[in-house]
């Protein structure tokens, strides 16, 4: 019984939150990695682009709520995602047309691209703050919990309970659906194959008649979908705050590089690696251990490797270690 309780404590406080957080990071990391593989630059505007897409979802959610349109138990935001994605793709294409395409045609070095994306980051951040302001917003409605700890305890008769927030379940399910569709698209369709060819060897792809404009367009479309969905899921789970989204860029980069930048599957797993590492290292194992050990051996301290303040620092340290030992990431990068 105690063993079961210990497992449930671990599930409730580490595995479920890490799965949800990892899914959000994974979507962002695939976004980073796709841009890196096809357009060949590190996009420093990642966090703010995700924030920009989420902003539309937030505004539309408020609008739909005022109209009385909703999804019942599901959050209204899910209904607004398609519209937000459209706006996001439009914004990305405008940015690409006026900013990035010039440097792509000139074949500028990646560093110059990165600096340009810093400019885009500033502009996007300004637009977000001017349109919606920097404050903290919650836009979750509908049912909050699928399973409450008390209900679980009653059902099983255990001393510990599992809480499953609806946002966590939605995050994991939506991520799995989106990611599987995307991998199917990249690996099985002709357009996906042409994208991979373009990423592998640009000159050869051009020779075999692949239209670079189309590839770039499709990349931005996929990027817009991933950025918006990732951003909205994060916003539903925590809350929408532009500054936090900017900061999230850093673990997302870490996830993309840990997985092997340029490799979407690596980025997908990298998201979970980072999330699990962050949560496992900063979790206080006192309750977990006290179930496993006999009573007189119970530990006094929290049994925490690092305090939760260092959550981000953990993921960055993992990144540094990966860069040192295996710079191409866990899964070899630079191909999609």
């Amino acid at each position: 019984m105690d063993f079961l309780n210990a497992i449930i404590v671990l599930l409730n406080f580490t595995v479920i939150p890490a799965l949800a957080y990892g899914s959000q990071l994974a979507l962002g990391a695939i976004f980073v990695t796709l841009i890196y593989a096809v357009l060949r630059f590190a996009n420093f505007a990642t966090g703010d682009m995700m924030s920009f897409g989420t902003m539309f979802a937030v505004i539309l959610t408020y609008y739909f709520q005022s109209l009385g349109i909703g999804l019942g138990v599901l959050p209204t935001a899910l209904l607004t995602i398609p519209f937000a994605i459209l706006m996001m793709i439009l914004y990305m294409l405008i940015i690409d047309k006026f900013v990035f395409s010039y440097y792509r045609i000139k074949k500028s070095p990646p560093v110059q691209f990165a600096m340009v994306s810093v400019g885009v980051m500033f502009v996007t951040q300004a637009l977000i703050r001017i349109i919606i302001g920097p404050s903290d917003r919650r836009f979750l409605d509908g049912e909050k919990f699928i399973l409450k700890a008390t209900e679980f305890k009653e059902m099983t008769g255990l001393a510990e309970g599992i809480t499953l927030k609806s946002t966590q379940a939605i995050t994991i399910i939506v991520t799995l659906i989106v990611v599987s569709i995307m991998f199917w698209f990249l690996n099985r369709t002709k357009t996906g194959t042409s994208m991979r060819a373009y990423s592998d060897n640009e000159d050869l792809a051009l020779l075999s008649g692949i239209d670079p404009k189309r590839v770039v367009l499709i990349t931005w479309v996929i990027a817009g979908i991933l950025a918006t969905i990732g951003g909205v899921l994060y916003g539903l789970d925590k809350s929408y705050r532009p500054f936090v989204y900017f900061n999230n860029m850093l673990p997302i980069f870490a996830a993309a590089i840990v997985g092997g930048i340029g490799n979407p599957f690596g980025a997908f797993l990298g998201g979970y690696v980072i999330a699990f590492a962050e949560i496992f290292v900063t979790y206080a194992y006192k309750r977990f251990i006290s179930y496993l050990l006999p009573e007189h051996l119970e530990p006094d301290s929290l049994l925490q490797l690092l305090s939760t303040d260092y959550k981000f620092a953990v993921s960055f340290s993992i990144l540094v270690i990966v860069l040192l030992i295996r710079p191409s990431g866990i899964f070899k990068g630079k191909v999609i």
Binding site: F122, A126, D309, L319
Partner: protein
């Protein structure tokens, strides 16, 4: 000669703008802006050494700035004796443990062949070391943080003069850069950018959360100053006499003695703040000029030519027998040390150390915009970039507010759009900086004052 005309014209416009602020807003604000411009200029000189001279992309400027600021606290604050008594030993033991871990890891790395076993043993040494560190440090940290937590709760510094901390800040930042350079300099340019960005985050989060070190997010206030305090000035005879002398014509206008006294008091208060800021301006200007002379000399020395050769063609330079790894490391350390110096200067100017305020937006990306806008590879350009961008960063909000009021003046006061725009005026600075950067990158990628190569 035409190039120099450009430089002189650009700087004259900048000075003119700051004087305009002095006339329209106040001299105190103008001097604050000027001081920050000078600090930004030091930072851009540092970043320009790395990016302009050697082509190294360092997005970790925030980390070095914070470390420079930390140096001010560690050097100038009086030591908290009680905290040292209760927890000093533990902290000293921790330092020894860290040193021991480093030596053991180095020993293992040098002694054994590359293998899985070696990796595991290094990992276990580090992990065991961290656990040992936590066990040793925990009681000490708790004891230190409970010593009068509202006022101290940290170890304090060495109680030395504050100017000394500028050198220490540079040294600290330089030694950190040595470590980071050893780890990350082999990476490709954009990987290096991301790695340095993240490492800077780690440093700031350590400074933020280790309260025994510098009070963390509780901030350290009332740091020492190299300049006199306003209160002392306002009561000292010579200063009041000086103000009277300067404003004698104005003072003579008022008839009654009480009016005169009141006007004089106000003037003394204003003048004391301006005087203190002028003292800082003098100090900062000295630093900027010294750095400018040194970097300018270095740029046109054989060493500078070597750096440019490495930047422009690594393979060729390497074939000529230049040690690229060593030179990159050296320039990484030098540039970072200058940024650390700027960080120390900034905290000295503010008189307080607020680890919570170190954010990558303000301390990394804005500095980079300064370097790119001003002109990479040219010190005059970098300094000008520091001035222009800082000026825009500060003055964008008032200018935006003025423009919004101008263009929406036909709308009623309560119009939703107008109210919203006026509320979001502070965020126009991001827009101005972003669009400015994009325009410069597109139409003048070499910056306002481009690099110029003197043929010798």
């Amino acid at each position: 000669m035409r190039n120099y005309k450009n430089v002189i014209a650009a700087y004259s416009i900048m000075i003119f703008l700051i004087i305009l602020v002095g006339i329209f807003q106040s001299w105190s604000i103008a001097l604050t802006i000027l001081n920050y411009c000078l600090i930004s200029a030091v930072m851009t000189i540092g970043a320009n050494i790395q990016w302009g001279y050697a082509g190294l992309i360092n997005f970790g400027i925030m980390g070095y700035t914070a470390l420079g600021g930390l140096a001010v606290v560690l050097v100038s604050v009086e030591p908290v004796k009680k905290a040292w008594q209760v927890g000093g030993l533990n902290i000293l033991a921790c330092i020894w443990i860290i040193v021991a871990i480093i030596f053991v890891v180095k020993f293992i790395l040098n002694r054994f062949e590359k293998s899985k076993l070696r990796n595991y043993s290094v990992a276990s040494v580090i992990l065991g070391g961290i656990i040992l560190l936590r066990v040793t440090a925990a009681p000490g940290i708790e004891a230190i943080e409970s010593v009068d937590p509202a006022k101290t709760g940290f170890l304090g510094g060495m109680g030395l003069p504050v100017l000394f901390s500028w050198i220490v800040g540079a040294l600290l930042a330089g030694s950190l850069a040595f470590v980071i350079g050893k780890i990350a300099l082999g990476l490709r340019a954009d990987y290096l950018a991301i790695a340095t960005l993240l490492i800077a985050e780690i440093i700031v989060s350590i400074i933020k959360h280790e309260e025994w070190l510098a009070r963390g997010v509780k901030n350290v206030i009332g740091l020492k100053r190299p300049a006199p305090y306003e209160i002392d000035l306002q009561t000292s005879e010579w200063f009041i006499n000086l103000v009277t002398k300067f404003n004698s014509s104005k003072l003579n206008l008022s008839n009654s003695i009480s009016d005169k006294q009141e006007a004089l008091n106000q003037m003394v208060i204003d003048a004391s703040s301006v005087y203190v800021k002028l003292c800082f301006t003098g100090l900062f200007l000295t630093v900027v000029i010294i750095l400018l002379i040194v970097t300018q000399k270095a740029l046109y020395s054989p060493w500078g030519r070597k750096m440019r050769a490495i930047r422009d063609n690594e393979e060729a330079a390497s074939a000529m027998g230049k040690n690229i790894v060593k030179e990159h490391l050296l320039i990484f350390i030098l540039g970072s040390a200058i940024v650390g110096l700027a960080g120390a200067m900034m905290v000295t100017n503010d008189g307080l150390f607020t680890p919570g305020s170190y954010r990558p937006m303000r301390y990394t990306f804005v500095i980079w915009v300064m370097v790119i806008v001003g002109g990479t590879g040219n010190n005059f350009g970098a300094i000008l970039g520091g001035f222009v961008v800082w000026f825009l960063w500060v003055e964008a909000a008032p200018i935006a507010l003025f423009l919004i009021n101008l263009f929406t003046s036909h709308l009623p006061e309560t119009n939703a759009v107008r109210v919203h725009l006026i509320e979001s005026a502070p965020y126009f600075r991001f827009l101005v900086i972003g669009i400015g950067l994009l325009l410069i990158m597109r139409y003048r990628p070499q910056g306002i004052i481009p690099e110029k190569i003197i043929k010798q």
